[in-house]
């Protein structure tokens, strides 16, 4: 299978600080990549660059073959993106918001209605379809953001902490949803909930201080240490301790 996401030597500097340092990887169709790392490791920055929001300092990425720098609109068409914190326009209704995203993506008339209805079905939003988003609970807001990312049934999904703020039942639903969609898509989810990686991911990348320190299936990681938690702590703290010594 061809790679739907290709990240090539992606680097982002903020002044003298390098948030993402020469990161390269590819994600194929059928893969669910868990993107792990401590806070501030560069997860969101990498995802923002991949989604075409933040221009990289160097390097590039391709989504379904479309370069994010040379063909940004084509790349974004193939992508469903849930930004960190699932931002939405608070004064809009759930339906209004999803219709807005759908119209920008070129759907109209009956097809637009079908897409919106289907996305709301997948994320169980039908009950609140006419409510202004600002009146919804955190879990619902997150699902509105998720519905927006799924609206156009994109081949590539990039979800920044999709289950943050959801209760255990909703987390389960979202994981089920990701698992169901996995065979036809390339999915990247960032998280710091390690059980989630074992539950839905076929592969895990651990990033610390802007660099990829591990790229392996979760099962392999678990074999290395007694648990994913231990592996995570050893790898991420290890780099920080090491960087602390050299500094």
């Amino acid at each position: 299978m061809s790679a739907l996401i290709e990240i090539e030597r992606l680097t982002r500097r903020f002044g003298g600080f390098t948030a993402v340092d020469d990161v390269s990887f590819t994600v194929n169709r059928g893969e669910v990549l868990g993107f792990l790392g401590p806070n501030g490791a560069g997860k969101s920055t990498t995802m923002r660059m991949l989604a075409g929001f933040m221009p990289p300092s160097s390097g590039t990425a391709r989504i379904c073959g479309a370069d994010i720098l040379e063909q940004p609109v084509a790349a974004k068409r193939h992508l469903g993106f849930l930004p960190e914190g699932a931002p939405t326009y608070p004064e809009m209704t759930v339906t209004g918001f999803l219709e807005f995203a759908g119209r920008i993506r070129g759907f109209k008339g009956g097809e637009l209605d079908d897409r919106v209805a289907h996305a709301m079905l997948l994320t169980q939003l039908e009950g609140v379809r006419l409510q202004p988003i600002e009146t919804l609970s955190k879990g619902f807001k997150r699902r509105v953001g998720l519905a927006q990312a799924l609206l156009h049934d994109p081949p590539v999904l990039v979800l920044d902490e999709p289950t943050d703020g959801l209760d255990p039942n909703q987390k389960h639903e979202v994981r089920e949803l990701i698992r169901r969609m996995a065979p036809e898509k390339a999915i990247v989810i960032s998280t710091h909930i390690l059980e989630e990686v074992g539950a839905v991911c076929t592969r895990a990348i651990i990033i610390a201080r802007g660099r990829v320190v591990v790229d392996a299936p979760p099962a392999v990681l678990e074999e290395e240490g007694s648990s994913l938690d231990d592996v995570f702590r050893r790898l991420t703290l290890g780099t920080e301790a090491h960087a602390g010594e050299t500094a």
Binding site: R48, A51, G52, F53, M54, P55, P72, V73, A74, K76, R77, L79, F81, P83, E84, G85, P87, T88, Y89, P90, E91, M92, G96, F100, A101, R103, I104, R105, K108, P132, G145, Q148
Partner: protein, 243 residues
């Protein structure tokens, strides 16, 4: 529908979903009416025209338009929705244009609601409605020019207060650059600058419209003025969107 129009439609609905729209329109109408009838001496002049009204509108826009534009990009940043908007598949300039259009249409609505003034002069006398129409066109163009300046400033800073103050200051410069105070001062010292000041003055161009003159070169001036600041907006946004 072009992406810019979809963005504009969402924005415009957003204005009316919050008190922003109503506060803006009410304040604009109250001030425009009050100034026209009191300071403008609307009745005492004994002339059936809207000159007093047109004299005050650019000054009202000087403060009200930056109040409208200060949140244009700052609010998107605060909510994080800028990340959503700019990762949807639309060229960035379409987002810039869409936001501008929504604000412009909104100013147009506020201007339209001053129609009782037009009705009043038509009841009291026989005004030249062509001049009134071109005056309104001029008002709309001044609003567009100030909006473009304000939108570009709002893309530069996260802070809404800074965006407001800077936009007022810049609009003031463009509004008054052609006034006699400025040009006479400059022409005695730096004559070249006096010409430039007259050249970039929004008020100078607006004056023609209030006299009923719709000149192609004035239209070109406003079009390029607005175009330049929208371009600046897009460039600034591209560099600063993720800050």
């Amino acid at each position: 529908m072009a992406p810019a129009l979809i963005v504009a439609r969402r924005e415009l609905a957003g204005y009316f979903a919050t008190p922003v729209a109503y506060v803006f329109i009410v304040i604009f109408l109250v001030l425009a009416g009050a100034l026209t009838f009191t300071l403008g001496n609307f009745f005492g002049r004994g002339q059936a025209d809207l000159q007093p009204f047109f004299a005050f509108v650019p000054w009202l826009f000087l403060f009200l338009v930056p109040a409208l534009t200060m949140r244009l990009w700052a609010e998107e940043r605060r909510l994080g929705t800028i990340e959503l908007l700019l990762t949807l598949p639309l060229p960035q300039w379409q987002a810039v244009l869409g936001k501008f259009l929504a604000a412009w249409v909104f100013c147009g609505i506020a201007l339209l609601l001053t129609f009782p003034l037009v009705v009043t002069v038509n009841l009291l006398g026989q005004p030249d409605n062509g001049v009134i129409l071109s005056g309104y066109l001029g008002c709309l163009l001044v609003a567009g020019a100030y909006l473009a300046v304000g939108a570009a400033v709002s893309a530069m800073t996260k802070n809404q207060v800074i965006a407001f103050v800077l936009a007022v200051a810049l609009c003031f410069v463009f509004g008054t650059a052609g006034s006699p105070v400025v040009t006479e001062f400059l022409s005695t010292r730096l004559p070249i600058l006096a010409d430039i000041a007259r050249g970039i003055s929004v008020a100078e161009r607006f004056g023609g419209f209030t006299r009923g003159l719709v000149a192609a070169r004035d239209l070109v001036f406003f079009a390029s003025f607005i175009g330049f600041f929208l371009f600046l907006n897009a460039v600034v946004l591209d560099h600063r969107k993720a800050d």
